[in-house]
Symmetry: D3
Subunit: 286 residues, 6 copies
């Protein structure tokens, strides 16, 4: 489930167009057409790689003759100073594509690296770390892939492929019978539809469980209330926790026995991983 | 120079399509078509607003009958707990558009807020805070606008509209006469083209100045070397500093007398500002 | 979950462009610009309506001033000779849009009407009639909506939103342990993913059930084998039947106790319902 | 005049995107990346082939390494159980593309096969079987090609490339002089424009013939009236018959001497031809 | 057959995007948001108007509140100094859209004006002036409309809607029987297809006429040969002349009795008509 | 800074689609699929070549097997009767693509040739010949490249990448202090923004110079006033002349000492250069 080549090409074409709508005037004017370079993608800090296909496509869609070889694969961990990839070809092309290539591989590796930290923090528990829909608009398919590269799991992709009944839906329903409302979802939607219901207080649990949801999301519960809810649900549904999740708190949340912990920060507040392109002019340009 | 309505509509349509490719199955099945809501965009922390037009468009392009009124304008500062906007209309539509609307306004307000911190840190100096090309691919026009909302300035938009000769270009040129190479840029490119040259050592300055650049970028210079370079350039070109810029260091860099300080972190490592949508069911749904 | 206005507009714009790439040369040359018409969409046979929004959009996107009023709503049943809708406006515009409008409403009403016949045939049983992925390429969102208008249910939308392990997958797996393979799906995919497994022989059932699927699809089973399988599954998973389903056989299949009967013919072999546009010139053209 | 590779690629890309917006989660999770398959497209009933290029493109655009060889060409007739094509390559890719490939080749072969039956029915007469504009919106170029594969002829492509004055136009003209109106078409439109006029009563023929149309369309005429009209037109224009055309009636209509018989059912009510993909795992996956 | 609003909007959006990819930095920075203007489109030379809808759309798609009123309609003749249109609204919007608006109305009015000169030159003869396929790529629909505004006629739109057998086709056919080849076109293509055949020597005429073409194109014939050919064809086909057509020669060519004279220069060598936008600041900006 | 392959492909695909929306019915019906041709692009008059990549792409995107070799490169001068390029491949493909290929190479070579005439006329002076924004909408990137091929320089690309304050802006500002207004541009816009100001009277010069513009544009100045202005500006800004520029006047304007002369006619009134495709049937078709 890597993003398809079509998805990759579409993003890269748009990014290249944005970054050079009428060409790279510096490289094309300054450098001879036949100057070539070898460049290395180097890790300036340790992390988990994600985005190699996008990185490669930035060069290939600028100039099909540029070659890119990765020495580390997506989802692999690397130390600082590791040479991640080698790029060779026309100097004009490599320098034109460099920023688009770096912007994407740094961002996605940042997500993968942060995810891996969360996953490591819950080692030994039953809990999955999952993403949310708090992704960069139009880049979701790539950011979800980065979460998987970091060892996390994906949540539903969109509003179309699974039900999530949230506090705002219940507010909008007013004093409707919530159990009946949830059952209607089951009867009208495709049998393949997973139904998850969010609650933010323990006293909401009984009415929700009565409707037979597939997953119950416990939002902003104390650790004590998480434990109580897990015990009460007792396998009748999956249990997801959200809210107040950080690297400092995630292990304790996982220890309550929840099945899933969703972490918005994996994608809504991304730090680009520090990766750089070190360039060596080939002999024939001297 | 706000992003145009066409730019806004194109992004929002793509984001809505991504987030609900075949509809919001929860809201459309669970909620009556005639249920209405009033929702408030509330600041859960202080900051600078950016993205009101995108926020509004997320609702309008989902349902033209939803109304959105902002009580704070883009580029304005707000305290925690401020009600930033009020949204009214069909419950189905508001809940379907909520996540796309929030994802964008939180991200752009995060950029504006961080920029404002950098700008405040250099108050009283001559230095402009500028962005870089380290933006989210395909969202540059919006992220640059967020930098302006935060009081920062924009750098060149792309590889097409200004020259930036970087260390990698000079490496690619080998032992070519750099002064002559830079003069060729001036003679071939449009007279409207600004020519900026990056150096990373003081001893490169003379050859560059001899070519009459419009701006000299001093990358990763010590404060002492920055001062030396500023004195040497002496108004013959604008002076930009980059590298090692943080909220802790920016004031000292500005104090060296540089004209511009470019900060990649403004856009490459964005923390979403904590804004939420509080929803109140209207009476007629009870 | 009606198709969104964006989906509708995109299809209609493409259809109008296909049908009149450089205008309707007959109407625009022959008819005066100010000639107006009133037209009625009339049922030449009984059926279930689907496609009113597309029908309306064909006229509106040709000419925003044309008005369309439906007297019967999508999903409603009508008798032969019923006037389904009235269209008024410029003669040139109505005659230009007529064929696109009819092509779509006839096709979708054909699907809805056939679906309703299958649904009626299983009345009194527990079985849902569902569609398949055998839809017209690029029109799936509309054809699935037509199935719902006819009282049927949708199956998964695509290869992305639910798992269906088919005979060809099992063939491709060779002599891998099928139970283990299925469990891997559960451990790797999002917790919201429904897992359905197809078998075509009773002796495959145990290995599949051992993996805990959400649904078992029994393909081309005899009625006797369907009954045996339903008894054996005994609520541990949903049961879907497919293969050899026709209006003649569906009731007997439903009577075996299966939960779902998927019918490819609902969308792969559509007969356009016979609907026509009867046109009356308005007085002012005489 | 086969659809161009651009037309084919555009349709297939859209269809693949629709059927797997974020990948084939079953095949990609279940099957090893290096598993390969050989599959055969087998006719489960006899017919006329159409759509081989689309079938191939579904695989190629999913994975350029999949190879597809057709043993029967478009427009050729085949018996039940014929192996029409062989597909080889990665199991994941073939299973992902299978449904899109089959949906199109089954639909187009259904059209070609039905067309061939109509063409056979009029063997020995002068009459051409032609399609109409009652095609699936956005797929016209492919469905018209299928009609040609079945031995039929195409009618005008769209409202832009030939004139067809229909009953509704004449109604919209009110009591205008029809002969004069038709002559205006000739004087204003390009000299390359074919002018066809529909009538539904014999008494309309004289006024139409007076204007010198290229073709007269006799809609819903009795056999006797067809014969009368053919005699009266006597070569001064081509004669087309439409309305009430079925496999049962078409031979008698052709025998009246008309030049053209247009059949909406060729494309508006398509039965997918029963073609299936039989899959054999290659040895290396066992 | 004016270009549709969809065609117009698509062109204008692309042109505006090209001319201001990230806004009009001059107007948006220099002028107050509430400054308004009234501008007049003034003819600096006489001519025939074409492009009013494109001119209006340039302003409207920049800013829906700008109003544009034309005092002269497309296809109307005007004298130098005529005020053709009045535009009112926000100064920023009008100045941003001005160049796109002018570029199109000047170009299309240039075509209409030149066409009108050719049409005037053949007054009193039977000959139509027609365009060719030598149009600006992607703007054909607009340039053909300009030819009609100038009183000319259109030729076939494209390679798809009529046959034109040119010298190069005949060369490519080698020593095939040309009459038979032409008859095959008639038997295979839709009955609505007009068949035109180009010859460049009188001695080719018999073989072509034997095939019954709809039009014969005489390319680069002398006036004497044109007369001979017209006499020989004698109404059995339409006669078109091309080659060596200028305002100096066209009357003599028309006098030979040909039905059509096609003029590539109408669109391949367009002089923009001199129209300008005179701007008056509204009082409220002083 | 040649247009990118993506830009080229996008234009050519649109042009081919426009010129053959459902195929080249003449070539595809008339010519055998295996007939091949060799064709030569021949100059019927002397000029400067531009558009070889577009010419090649027209054939390649119609049929990847067609080969195109240019014997003259873009920006090179050629005499009448020069063979510019040789094209070989399937006859159907070459004849289908011919018109699109010629339309573009003739138009762009027309621009390059005219530009070269202007450039030659100012030889020995300091003046650059530049283009303007009076380009064909949506083709600017290609027409600007043609100006460079002719030895001219480009002006700003669009409203986004440089400031040009024109008379209409100043009119819109009313009696605002122009010097202060211009300084605001400098303080708000990116430091890379070139600021050019148009004046049409000598008495406007002082206020403009006081604001420190990068370039002053003197519009419609007499030669005497040009000389006066050049003397007064004295190197404090670049000086551009516009208005009343023709091949007859340009040398005198250049002699006044201006740095730049912008010529709208380079692109707003293009005469296609007379280039033709001479076709030789290959032996194997005889």
């Amino acid at each position: 489930m890597k993003p398809s080549q079509n998805d990759i090409d579409r993003l890269i074409r748009a990014a290249l167009e944005e970054d050079a709508p009428w060409g790279d005037i510096t490289s094309q004017t300054l450098l001879p057409a036949d100057a070539t370079l070898t460049a290395q993608l180097v890790a300036r800090e340790s992390g988990v790689l994600c985005g190699s296909d996008l990185f490669r496509a930035a060069f290939t869609l600028t100039d099909p003759k540029v070659t890119t070889h990765f020495h580390v694969a997506d989802a692999e961990t690397f130390a600082a100073n590791t040479i991640l990839a080698t790029v060779s070809g026309a100097a004009r092309s490599i320098l034109q594509a460099e920023r688009v290539a770096l912007n994407l591989v740094q961002r996605l590796s940042g997500i993968a690296t942060l995810t891996a930290q969360y996953v490591a923090a819950v080692t030994g528990t039953n809990a999955r770390i999952t993403d949310t829909r708090k992704t960069t608009p139009t880049l979701r398919i790539f950011e979800r892939y980065a979460v998987r590269c970091g060892g996390g799991h994906n949540h539903r992709f969109s509003l179309s492929d699974a039900v999530m009944v949230k506090d705002n839906h219940i507010a909008a329903l007013g004093n409707t019978d919530i159990t009946a409302a949830l059952r209607r979802l089951r009867s009208e939607l495709p049998h393949t539809t997973h139904i998850e219901v969010e609650i933010d207080r323990l006293d909401q649990l009984d009415a929700v469980l009565a409707a037979g949801p597939d997953t119950v999301l416990l939002d902003n519960f104390t650790l004590a209330d998480l434990r109580t809810a897990v015990a009460k649900i007792a396998g009748k549904a999956l249990v997801e926790a959200s809210g107040g999740v950080s690297l400092a708190t995630v292990a304790a949340i996982a220890a309550t026995g929840v099945d899933l912990i969703s972490v918005g920060a994996l994608t809504h507040s991304v730090s680009a991983l520090d990766l750089g392109l070190d360039i060596h002019a080939d002999r024939n340009i001297a």
